[in-house]
Subunit: 445 residues, 2 copies
């Protein structure tokens, strides 16, 4: 039996490796269009921040290991361009332009996502970067010579914010610009304001509500042009979001869903016979809204890959979906979320109510405490916990996993408020900030 994987990053290589471990006699072939496999893409902003580190430190496992130790037929520089479902075949071109084709018994599409580049003048000029593949990171890092002093970042999402910190740490001044008003509009406003203050405290200039019209190059400088504003830069980073690489699936009549991501069921199967999809190109089921959605995150890619491998090997593995847990760091702050915010909850048909509280990261009178802001959303009609957001200097990143588990378990706000949290003075108040939020939210429900 032959298992072909298109795409050699998190989902693709997780699937290939696990399928081989599950069933050593399986023939596994991976087609990857770049020269890189199995690297920690999320680590790039931190790697770029440190001039002394090699970008290739982020490689988790080398191609040779997959080939020699795991007997995976890994073809780098091979771009698959067409899937023929009726003939169970794929076609493509390698990096020298030679055509290739192959036949599968089972296929996995793990083509990932690509950065959105605005279709506006000047975005092809030198000095303008995006950051998704390791090769993107390699090129960007090489470009950061000592004379690079000013960066403009398009977008204010979490990759944009991580890169703002990264540039700042390299001594580069940073301006950020985006089309829509409001920083982190998905974040409860008190919490978003705190992130904004943190950015301003590190001299990051924020220009939200400024649509970019194009980029020009004059006197060896890039000018990012908006209606009422021109920002000069030595380097420009486009980080306004990504879109799933699903065209190849659509061309093969495979159904796509939200954000044009490839629709998959709880076994990661697409609507195409014997074709699976996983990773940033695939949809996920949201366990709170009970709707298919698209949230490209590393854990889903890895877990999705494993799930495909188990189903390829007839293990009948189902996964229950996600609750949208995420965290990022921006300078001294940790920002985390799980579940739905107010507007998402309304959209999903709930009758939501929100509480926003501020508490401390350590016990009364324990030195070194920081403030933790918590937003918690519950459903008035059912009493269910729907979502939590947190911002703080410490104790946020791992705390968010507790309400995430509660969301998986469809726990009510009251049940959550009565849960047994760990307490010691260096780590939390007796009433953990999450318990305080739940206690306060109950009063509004």
């Amino acid at each position: 039996m032959k298992f072909i994987v298109i795409g050699g990053d998190a989902a693709g290589m997780s699937a290939a490796s696990r399928a081989k471990r599950n069933m050593p006699e399986l023939s596994v072939c991976v087609y990857e269009q770049t020269q890189d496999v199995s690297y920690s893409a999320c680590g790039m902003p931190y790697n770029i921040a440190d001039a002394g580190r090699q970008i290739d430190d982020l490689v988790v496992r080398k191609a040779s290991v997959f080939r020699e130790k795991q007997d995976i037929d890994l073809k780098l520089g091979h771009r698959v361009e067409k899937i023929d479902i009726s003939n169970k075949a794929i076609k493509g071109k390698d990096s020298s332009g030679n055509a290739f084709s192959d036949n599968y018994d089972i296929l996995l599409i793990a083509t990932g996502a690509s950065p959105i580049i605005p279709n506006l003048p000047g975005f092809d000029l030198p000095g303008i970067f995006a950051l998704k593949s390791l090769e993107d990171g390699r090129k960007l890092k090489q470009f950061l010579r000592p004379e690079i002093k000013k960066a403009v970042i398009l977008g204010m999402g979490y990759i944009a914010l991580e890169m703002a910190e990264s540039f700042h740490n390299r001594g580069i001044s940073v301006s950020m610009i985006k089309h829509r008003p409001q920083l982190l509009p998905w974040l409860s406003s008190n919490l978003a304001n705190r992130v904004q203050k943190e950015l301003k405290a590190h001299d990051i200039q924020l220009y939200d509500g400024h649509p970019v019209a194009g980029i020009e190059s004059t006197n060896n400088q890039l000018n990012v042009i908006s209606k009422d504003l021109t920002l000069n830069a030595d380097i420009v980073l486009t980080a306004i979001g990504v879109r799933p690489n699903s065209q190849i699936a659509k061309d093969a009549q495979i159904k796509t869903g939200p954000s044009d991501a490839i629709l998959v069921d709880s076994k990661m199967a697409t609507t195409g016979k014997d074709v699976f999809a996983a990773g940033d190109c695939a949809s996920v089921m949201h366990n709170v809204s009970k709707k298919q959605t698209w949230i490209p995150l590393a854990l889903y890619a890895n877990r999705g890959g494993w799930t495909v491998a188990d189903n390829v090997c007839r293990k009948n593995k189902y996964i229950p979906g996600v609750v949208g847990t995420a965290v990022f760091k921006v300078f001294g702050l940790q920002v985390a979320r799980t579940g739905l915010n107010m507007s998402e909850a309304k959209k999903a048909g709930f009758d939501p109510v929100e509480i926003v509280i501020q508490s401390r990261s350590r016990a009364h009178a324990h030195p070194g405490a920081g403030k933790i802001d918590v937003s918690m959303v519950g459903d008035v009609s059912s009493g269910r916990l729907l979502g939590v957001q947190m911002v703080g200097e410490e104790g946020v990143a791992h705390r968010i996993n507790a309400p995430a588990i509660a969301l998986h378990g469809k726990m009510s706000v009251e049940e959550f408020s009565l849960a047994d949290f760990a307490y010691a003075p260096p780590f939390s108040p007796v009433w953990d900030p999450l318990l305080t939020a739940a206690n306060q939210l109950l009063k509004k429900m």
Copy 2:
């Protein structure tokens, strides 16, 4: 209606305050035998570690606030000695030796717990301390003059360990001695070994398996005497555990349970008519073993107090019990647990299996990562998650709350392994250490 509370610490004052907030017309009277109310007892080791801080920094709310702002009749220096359930009366003596008596409609026993002092020669010598009340902490801290250079701690539980660090930070060399062999016998052995190494790295001398026979005083020094060993000290701390102050309840024919703690139901009611109990003197229901047990922890005391207040005010509040979540810090390590360990699980009638793994606190190639050791226990017959223990330099204290929620929700190990955890390189690997442990445990189940 008159609500009388015996004991003015966490459970007692939580109950008194909340009852007054719930029902301002309620007459609330608290009898407290010491001169202190409402302080962070758990903060004492950290306060004592810092010569520059006043022990009274740990007071959360002063007696005057309870009296003046909350209209609570707070009687300090009043020791209740007898409860007469048939006449709904209490009797006692104040600090000047004058008898007093009072009548209640509803009574709360919140008498806490007392340190166990061995009934052996020499434990009444000067320089020997225990640490439970704020007055204990006050006296101990006053005693720590610059000439105090050597401490012996009896016991190796978490208060003993916190105080070892506290003394160490004050420049006092520390030896610890206990009767039974093995440091932290409830902790999985790999994890306990790691704690032991941390203690040794800070020059803490450990003498486990050495029963103490008594203490003698010679040449202005204390000698802690064991069969084959004598330890010299300028100060001795007895930290071999606490026992519930339940004698007053037993004398009134109120039923006690495990460890002689006062038995309470899910409304915190005792077997005595109109008598509640809460805090370190009361039992708790363990939600995993489904057995009454005794775990004296601050959150249970605060929550128990609130529950009593709500039931006093006819709000019919039930609490679901605990899962035994706890954390402490010892030098550079965080040590946390929730649920049952192997031997507790066997005793509770499960068919448990354990996995012990080591993972990292940050992503692949992210600098500054520490190691996290995880023990996870599951039930082979039902598939249920039963307990988790963790030790690590960072990311342990709050991570433990996720499996705690899973235990409340009776989640299976497989469901837990498929949960949506937060990931960003500074905070965890893509597969959180808890997910790695669950994935590995599944293979053994």
